[in-house]
């Protein structure tokens, strides 16, 4: 699904990722953990194609294609989804309009006709129920006036509607209370499937109690310092990042 090899990235001449390698196979959930400034969000953004990052070395292949050569919108249409840490508010663009435009962009790519508006609304409502979002959401602007928790739920709702092959969730758990965390986790789990993969970027292992990863990686100074299974997250929780950063130094 995703193959990152020796990836180096800098922002404004400051090296952030430094020879990072990672393999994500279909059906797997990977958690990326690490202290502040270790490059977690940079990795998520580079995979989604955000401008402002200079790739100085390495390769990224997604479903056999050179991901770094694809425009952000091409990546999205090929089934890559980024759940933002800080989703933007876009007043004046209706939530449903965006969802529909996004789904139709993928469908056009696949040579399929546009979605039927009525059926689509039904699908959105069904997913909204899962995310415990009320009907008023439909007519509101994208994230307009949403609380932090609502924005994150909206990210997951978009993911549920778009059904991506590879979801990258950038600190989707930050700022969530425990109830919202469970709702978000339920949303993520509902999409687990042998054909789909997920990369969960997180600070804390709390989310991983609900979204149980197949692999846990610890990012330190721009490269993966340690990989393991879920027990690694628990050990990090107990011993703190110093344990790994000390080793990596």
């Amino acid at each position: 699904m995703l193959s990152i090899s020796n990836l180096s990235v800098s922002v404004a001449d400051k090296q952030i990722l430094d020879g990072l390698s990672l393999e994500v196979a279909a059906g797997e959930v990977h958690a990326i953990m690490g202290p502040n400034g270790s490059g977690k969000s940079t990795l998520a953004h580079v995979l989604a194609g955000r401008p402002g990052y200079q790739v100085t070395g390495g390769t990224v292949h997604y479903q056999g294609r050179d991901l770094l050569a694809m425009a952000p919108e091409e990546r999205a249409r090929a089934g890559l989804f980024l759940g933002f840490q800080y989703p933007v508010e876009i007043p004046g663009v209706n939530n449903v309009y965006l969802l529909k435009a996004a789904v139709n962009a993928v469908r056009r790519q696949q040579g399929l006709p546009e979605v039927d508006a009525f059926e689509f609304l039904g699908l959105v409502r069904e997913k909204m129920q899962l995310m415990r979002m009320d009907d008023s959401f439909l007519s509101r602007g994208v994230n307009e006036g949403f609380s932090g928790g609502e924005k994150k739920r909206n990210e997951i709702l978009q993911m549920l509607v778009l059904e991506p092959r590879l979801a990258i969730l950038d600190e989707t758990d930050s700022g969530l209370d425990i109830d919202a965390l469970k709702v978000v986790a339920a949303g993520v789990n509902s999409q687990r499937d042998p054909q789909r993969s997920c990369v969960v970027v997180t600070h804390y292992q709390r989310l991983l109690e609900y979204v149980v990863p197949d692999f846990v990686h610890v990012l330190v100074r721009g490269r993966i310092a340690r990989s393991g299974d879920r027990s690694l997250a628990l050990e990090l929780e107990r011993r703190g990042y110093d344990w790994v950063t000390g080793e990596a130094a």
């Binding site: 989604a48 919108e73 980024l82 876009i90 004046g92 996004a102 994208v142």
Partner: protein, 441 residues
Amino acid sequence: MSSTLTNRIVEDYASVAAALPAAGAAAQRRRGAIEALRAVGLPGARDENWKYANLRPLERLRFVPAVPAPPAQLPATEPAPLPGFARYVLVDGVLAAALSAPLDATAAQVFSLAGAGSPAGATPAAAGALARPWRELQGDERFALLNAAFATDGLGIRVAGASSQPVRIELLFIASADQQAGASYPRVELTLADGAHLELIERHVSAGMQPSFVTSAVTVDMAPRATLQHYRLQELNAHSTLFDTLSAQLAARASYRLHGIGSGAQSARSTLMVHLGEGAQLQLAAAAIADRQQVLDTYALVEHTAPDARTVQTFRGIAAGRARVGFNGKIVVQPAARGSDSQQSLRGLLAGAEAEIDLRPQLEIHTDEVRCSHGATAGKLDENMLFYLLSRGLDRDSAQRLLKWAFLEDVIAQVALPALRRQIEERLVGRLRDEQLRELL
């Protein structure tokens, strides 16, 4: 202004004066206006509030009024009349009765300003510029003088007092004459009695692709507690020149919602002057969408003259290509206007490397106990928003169009008539698409 220009105006006037309608009030108005113009002239580029306007076309334009030739029927491209609205069509400023669907109500009188049909005492009591002595006339209303001197017709609208339902009127001004043949002088004199309610749509369109020169003047006189929703849509063709002046007086607790949406003309200048009495309210929401080499400029002067008046002003402008968009909004709170409340939000979106946006919020406060806030920002499309949309699979062009659309929504959403709002949105969708196509050329 150059004296050459003044001389040309006076000469043009002399050449047609004898042929202009000379019914009592109109003739007096005309003579007063031309005398005042001779004395004060039109504003020039050095005038503080005119530096964003395009005054150059004046050098080659003729001022004599065009003789309209109304079409037998309205072009199919014109928007359908809105349900419940009477429609009056004026071609080159002259009422075309055959094309109009007059009001079927006694709550208002609508009459041609050309003379014969005017009810007694129809001259507005305090109708902005024209009711005040010329020497007191503010420099920025001087294009209204041009209209007052040359307008051969126009509409007077008088809305009687309190009724539960608002009177609904649409005015469709069609510019049909080529500027070589003469100018068009749309004119509206609006009077609302105590407690009267009016919903007014004022559209300016072109009949074809010929360049037209349009100088419009609207006066609004609102008695206490009157309410007015006024939608002004400027959709002239891309070759035309427009100078527009609106002067409004609001008596105590009158409430005026003034919406201006300008996307047409090669260059258009709108001058809005509003005086607010005690507890009067003004909601001014304006949008301008310009591309190619269009120049769309608005000057809005709002004066709070008595206590407790309130102004909310919103402007959104998009300039693409090499277009220029200007909005100069000045709010003056006079010494007597304690308890004033004003909010001003001006935003511009630069959608072309050579486009220009000039926003100027001004507050002049001469008393304490007021609440005034203002903000003005001009910039490009928000990169974070754009990336968010791209990351959802939208192509770049669609994403940019969508964000431009969203940018204008602050103003469009304030259009309280759903059917009209839909028409405006449809036009904007078309407009934003056009722009994309032009970028491909």
